[in-house]
Amino acid sequence: MSVAAEVAQVAQSAIDDFNAAYGLCLDDDRLEQWPTLFVDDCLYQVIARENVDNGLPAAVMYCDSKGMLADRVVALRKANVFPEHFNRHLIGRAVITGAEGNQVSAEASYVVFQTRNDGETRIYNAGKYVDWFDLSGGTVRLKSRTCIYDTLRIATLLATPI
């Protein structure tokens, strides 16, 4: 087994654990903690599948630094107006797609259910994460996360991260 393959094998459970914790971090409204799940020099984007499939780069969120993630959170807390809601992430088992040094790439399907004040739970956003994880220093951090959503029609608006 190559070194890279060994890294990938060890990474599987670490990444699945990470994704489960990532979803709960958002769903439990611990938004301030969310940027700490990324390395400083990170990329986080939420992009429509129709754009990805057509080679178009425009995303509804595009943050290429941890600072930009933190700015999003401050804006959500202090400035932005959006429907009161709970989100619920269900994230599938990750599929490791590659490895390079201490970095591992993986993909995982997700569904976000949303419940607003009327009490109805709706499928809000379905898609997949396309990720690069940084496993250096014994911790798992996101180097990049691209949320590619199938749900082309965003209900009302998309405020809290996916």
């Binding site: 939420v46 992009i47 429509a48 129709e50 754009n51 057509n54 178009l56 780069p57 425009a58 995303a59 509804v60 969120m61 595009y62 943050c63 290429d64 630094s65 600072g67 930009m68 933190a70 700015d71 999003r72 401050v74 804006a75 202090k78 400035a79 932005n80 107006v81 959006f82 429907p83 082309l152 029609r153 965003i154 209900a155 009302t156 608006l157 998309l158 405020a159």
Partner: protein, 426 residues
């Protein structure tokens, strides 16, 4: 039409509109006829989306599904996406290229070319002499329903109306000048976002013309201490009232947005500070200092430049309380990769997740929800006066453009609202 002669339909006037207009199915149906299929040109897409012959894009005029195409001779066409045989949807994709020019209905394989002409009918003469159409069957009489198509500055418009004046006249000189400002050089599409609001299309049309709410609903700028008090702004309204553009420029003599942000931070005591100001960075690329340009072309499109974001927002009314907003983001064709990345960062400001725009979706839904059961009650649109003026200062807190929208709307609806009210249907 001036304010004095404007029809007052069903008790509505530009300063006070009956909330029934957001809820009545009968009014929605009348709007399709009087507005979207009436005396208007409706946005269909960008020429840049139809760069090559055979390219097509599915779109809507009002709630009518329409396909816009580029034929092999380079001309642009639009037709209703409804098979002339049994009404099936002919083109089932959002976009693509039909290199052979044939749009084939899957149901019985009637085939149409890019212009909408029927070019093939299977078993037209029957099978082994049995069945088939009569000798009188004339393919030319069974084409798809076509729209008139014209373009301006890279925008493609269509109309169902055979007699309306050309697009240039519909837009008028002021709107044309501002469209040309954004479409100053060839553009390339960067992508799409589609937002679905549980609200009436007119609530969004009003919202895009409403400069009063900017600093009050969208609290991003003041929160981060970048509220820009001393900016110059201008608002212009077309003759009929229903198109509008407003622009906001950087303060004179201030070339660096970053330092301005710091100065404003001190002035406005913003609690928070942006950690990554690249999100807001503005690189003037048009020969003026305008950092915000929002242009609402009646009835269904908004053209915008906010910082270095460029977009059209197409308003698609699917029902009284179902409105889709299709954001088409673009840059200039000669943008390098770094410029594109800069635009992507700026795009955080706009769209369904936009730090200064997401609230609009919520405002539309709040007004829809709040006006349920409020037929006969009316809105109050008198900020800045009760008339519609051709120019105004939108930062001066003025609903002039919103009144302009209603003036144009009521004019086009003519007696429809009053008739429906008399019939007890709205």
């Amino acid at each position: 039409m001036n304010a004095e002669t404007m029809p007052v339909a069903a008790g509505s006037e530009p300063t006070a509109v009956d909330y029934a207009v957001y809820h009545s199915q009968a009014i929605f149906t009348a709007e399709q006829e009087n507005i979207f299929r009436g005396q208007t040109w409706c946005y269909l897409g960008l020429e840049a989306e139809l760069a090559n012959s055979g390219d097509f894009r599915s779109t809507h005029v009002g709630n009518t599904p329409v396909v816009v195409t580029r034929a092999t001779d380079g001309t642009i066409h639009a037709w209703v996406n409804r098979c002339a045989h049994k009404g099936a949807t002919v083109c089932r994709s959002l976009r693509g290229n039909q290199a052979d020019g044939a749009f084939v209905c899957v149901y019985h394989q009637w085939a149409y070319d890019a212009t909408g002409a029927l070019v093939g009918v299977p078993f037209r003469r029957g099978l082994k002499g049995v069945g088939g159409y009569s000798k009188e069957f004339n393919m030319a009489e069974h084409s798809l329903e076509r729209l008139r198509v014209e373009t301006f500055g890279g925008l493609v418009f269509g109309t169902f109306n055979p007699t309306i004046a050309p697009l240039d006249d519909f837009l008028g000189p002021v709107m044309r000048k501002y469209i040309q400002r954004v479409f100053q050089r060839p553009v390339k599409v960067l992508g799409y976002a589609r937002q679905f609001m549980a609200g009436n299309w007119k609530l969004y049309s009003e919202n895009s013309r409403d400069s009063y709410h900017g600093g009050l609903l969208h609290l991003f700028y003041p929160t981060f201490g970048i509220y820009r008090q001393s900016q110059e702004s201008a608002g212009l309204v077309s003759d009929e009232g229903y198109h509008t553009v407003f622009t906001v420029s950087k303060p004179k003599g201030d070339v660096d947005y970053g330092s301005f942000g710091d100065e404003a931070n001190r002035e406005m005591q913003g609690e928070a500070k942006l950690q990554d100001e690249r999100l807001l960075a503005f690189r003037p690329e048009i020969a003026d200092d305008v950092g915000l340009h929002i242009q609402s072309i009646f009835p269904s499109v908004v053209v915008q430049q906010i910082q270095n974001t460029l977009a059209t927002r197409q308003i698609v009314p699917h029902g009284t309380d179902k409105t889709e907003l299709v954001w088409t983001y673009f840059g200039y064709a000669d943008d390098d990769d770094e410029t594109t990345r800069h635009r992507l960062r700026n795009l955080n400001l706009v769209g369904p997740s936009g730090l200064i725009s997401m609230e609009d979706g919520e405002a539309v839904e709040l007004c829809q929800q709040g006006t349920i059961g409020a037929e006969g009650k009316r809105s109050f649109v008198e900020m800045g006066g009760d008339d519609v003026r051709p120019s105004y200062a939108p930062m001066g807190m003025d609903e002039n453009s919103v009144r302009g929208f209603w003036k144009g709307y009521l004019g086009l609806m003519g007696n429809a609202l009053a008739d429906l009210a008399a019939e007890g249907r709205a």
